[in-house]
Symmetry: C2
Subunit: 329 residues, 2 copies
């Protein structure tokens, strides 16, 4: 009999679900529309049905499922298993998601912040393998974060630690969606990178990106890196500012929890070496020379599966810890 | 028979030593000159002799000493018990201080960064009591730090985590002693606060502090807060900049490890409420409103004894963990 762990990654648009073996190798995965406006009971039921169908289609036995992990966007009360609120899921207010899913599945469930789940996935089988201290950033619409100290996720007193996108790097700088000024997220997320390019063009700066803006009505972060590769000067400046902001973030987390490895993930890392090398260069410029060589700055390796892998891995860890504590289970 | 724990706090000038009971109540304490230029063997021998005399004078039995803790300035390899180098102790290079002291005392010894030891002291019996997540700052010549996540000190991959004074808050700002630009230490340590006042006066800014500078040739941080209390405008500006820098530091550590309590210690907190209230005000101005109420910003309560209490408490924890692991000891 084999052991199966289920990982569920809830986003505003889609829910990703994967089944993993005890080595956290992917057996099968699928994705369904979140349809959060149907309310929590319908969504939880859909999750369970999707898991059941996924297992059946793969010829797997429900009995072999040991545990599931679920990652959702914050803010939430992860200790008590509650979604407190979620920007894209207005009907999910104070929802005991962990209990609901556990009862529906009849299996133990671990509930975690989505960025922490992806961080844990990279830590266990991805870019963080082999270290005990890691910091993780996702570069997407915003900037999410995860911190692992001595092999453990940092949750903070209220379960909302590692919101690293809201570290202030430019006091009195650009306004962030959170209300603070000068957050790294206001400079270096994919959205902010695109937004800064758009603002510069609207302010009259010459750039090959201007045609994109005129044609499509908007510029994406991908456009910025493509036009940088093609030699556009504004794109270079914008990308440099992004890299410098991310390098400052690396300096600051290094002085906080001293990770051995800093892992960048999210859609923006598709920009590749042109992004990574610039972050590393600015980091080496900024950092105290004594510490420059202690940290490795790398890209994530698990892609979009990090969330489901991490959630499943947390389920596996739960079972292991229960076994270790010699409880009957 | 009572249990005794010894705490040793090594500074460039003095070594503080205290004996504590199992409740970490101070039994007796003393202080001796470090005389680091005599070399590590002489200094270790002096520590041991001082402990012996301290116990004898208090009528305590050597046999009741369970363990000792020692805190020293970094950088060091705390895992292996080595002082790698120390600014004020040039003869202490790659010194296996933990083993030397343990052999000389014939007792188990815990070796820790001095700021971490003080942080642990405040956590166990001082301003951090009752929480599981805390961040600690010492405001002195520089700014030291300590982080506790879920009841454990954060050491980082090389034992040099929580060097929070070197978090960059003003990119391309003032040069810090570490070589970086814009570290919070370059703005908000006691030394930097005094230095910024001195620079302003030398640049021609009018201030009642000018007479102090002319008379003594230097301005202290204490002078700045005294002249602020007396209504001096420059002193107010300088103190405001210090408080704003410390508030930014609070915002950033809150987003990193989400402490329940942030504790300020060190000579500078003698400035009192005028400092604390300004930090709190700037913090509330800067922070994401959702998070403003989750953290308590307070002053340390143990004063200069925090280091010896924390070191002794770490010794106590060592013994407890050995007992818990059921090893023969």
């Amino acid at each position: 009999m084999s052991e199966i762990f289920v990982g569920i990654d809830v986003g505003g648009t889609n829910i990703k679900i994967g089944c993993f073996d005890s080595q956290l190798k992917l057996i099968c995965k699928t994705s369904v529309a979140t349809e959060a406006d149907m309310g929590p009971e319908v969504v939880v039921d859909k999750m369970a049905q999707t898991v059941e169908k996924l297992l059946a289609d793969a010829g797997l036995s429900w009995q072999d499922v040991c545990a599931a992990g679920i990652g959702t966007p914050g803010p939430a009360n992860y200790r008590d298993g509650l979604i407190i609120s979620a920007t894209n899921m207005p009907k999910f207010k104070n929802i005991p998601i962990r209990r609901m899913l556990s009862e529906r599945l009849g299996k133990p469930v671990v509930f975690e912040n989505d960025a922490n789940a992806a961080c844990w996935g990279e830590y266990v089988v991805g870019a963080g393998k082999g270290v005990r201290d890691m910091v993780f950033f996702t570069l997407g619409t915003g900037i999410g974060g995860g911190i692992i100290c001595d092999g453990k996720l940092v949750h903070g007193c209220g379960g909302n630690g590692a919101e690293l996108g809201h570290i202030i790097i430019y006091p009195d700088g650009r306004k962030c969606n959170c209300g603070q000024r000068g957050c790294v997220e206001a400079y270096a997320s994919a959205n902010s990178t695109a937004k800064r390019a758009t603002e510069a063009i609207e302010a009259g700066v010459q750039s090959s990106l201007k045609k994109v803006l005129e044609k499509r009505g908007e510029i994406s972060c991908k456009d910025v890196y493509e036009h940088l590769a093609a030699g556009d000067e504004l794109a270079r400046q914008i990308a440099d500012e992004t890299a410098k902001a991310l390098a400052l973030l690396c300096v600051n987390v290094l002085h906080a929890t001293e990770p051995k490895r800093i892992v960048f993930a999210g859609g923006m890392i598709a920009a590749g070496d042109i992004l990574l090398n610039r972050i590393r260069d600015y980091f080496n410029e900024q950092i105290w020379s004594l510490k420059a060589e202690t940290v490795q700055i790398v890209f994530a390796t698990l892609g979009e599966d990090a969330g489901i892998i991490g959630a499943a891995a947390l389920g596996k860890q739960l079972i292991a810890s229960v076994k270790n504590s010699n409880n009957i289970f």
